[in-house]
Amino acid sequence: MPMSYFIGLSVVMFAMGILGVLLRRNPLVVFMSLELMFNSANLLFVAFSAYHQVLDGQLFVFFVMTTAAAEVAVGLALIVAIFKAKRTIDLDQMSSLKG
């Protein structure tokens, strides 16, 4: 398959992730859009790894996955803590720096 297929798909996925981050007010959906952007970067890593016949790209995908898992754990814990303090998770309501 030509590389332009994977590049185009990755660009479209990344743009959809940006749309989700900018438009949605549910922080959980914002997190999911972030995962979508990670995923588009990973797809490009693997595609270029196969294109150049270099294995390092796949290892970078591995590291991105573990870092994303850590980021999700901390982010979801933050959301739960914010919900406990403010009883809402609407992003538009989170406009104060002091709890």
């Binding site: 590389m3 949605r24 549910n26 979508l36 995923n39 797809l43 196969a50 294995l55 290892l59 919900f83």
Partner: protein, 184 residues
């Protein structure tokens, strides 16, 4: 390229794009999570087509498995399936769409002007990325990043537990006053 292959790749791309649109448009966060699972599994199929079976399996188990289960747990724990319909910030939606379209145009222009490689990649040999070769590379050249990843995961786990722990009653049975709660 054979017609069947073209059909398969376009079907996969269609599923990826439609599940992404479903993710950012569905009102219910549970549906968004399930769309994202579909997206992850489809991208895992693309990884297999690219000759990366280890990454594909890691994608299914780590992303579509554990991370999305964590998401679903938190959604149900908070009861955050649907937010109350409220007035969003004025002009935010238009601005968001404009910025996303600007980004898309920027990327398309970049790819067109830079001249991305359009030729098909060579067919990968079957022993290009077996779990064995990936493991050898991971524990030889990338040993230090691997250990640092372990440290990051440990720190994230401790941080997550620390942030969500309940204030525990002390021996006399009284709840210790949390600093942020005592002000209210």
């Amino acid at each position: 390229m054979s017609l069947g292959l073209i059909f398969m790749y376009s079907a996969l791309a269609l599923v990826v794009v439609v599940s992404g649109i479903g993710l950012i448009t569905s009102r219910n966060a549970i549906y968004a999570a399930l769309f994202l699972v579909l997206n992850f599994v489809t991208v895992a199929l693309l990884y297999i087509a690219l000759g990366a079976p280890f990454i594909a399996l890691a994608q299914v188990t780590v992303y579509a498995g554990s991370i999305m289960v964590l998401f679903l747990f938190v959604i149900m724990l908070l009861g955050a399936e649907q937010l109350p319909i409220a007035e969003p910030l004025r002009g935010q939606r238009v601005l968001g769409i404009l910025l996303a379209v600007a980004f898309l145009a920027e990327m398309v222009l970049f790819v067109l002007l830079r001249g991305a490689p359009t030729v098909a990649g060579q067919a990968v040999s079957p022993d290009f990325s077996t779990p064995t070769t990936i493991g050898m590379l991971l524990f030889e050249r990338y040993l230090l990043p691997f250990e640092m990843t372990a440290g990051v995961l440990l720190a994230a786990t401790v941080g997550a537990i620390f942030m969500t722990r309940q204030p525990r009653p002390d021996r006399k049975g009284a709840l210790p006053a949390m600093p942020e709660e005592s002000k209210e």
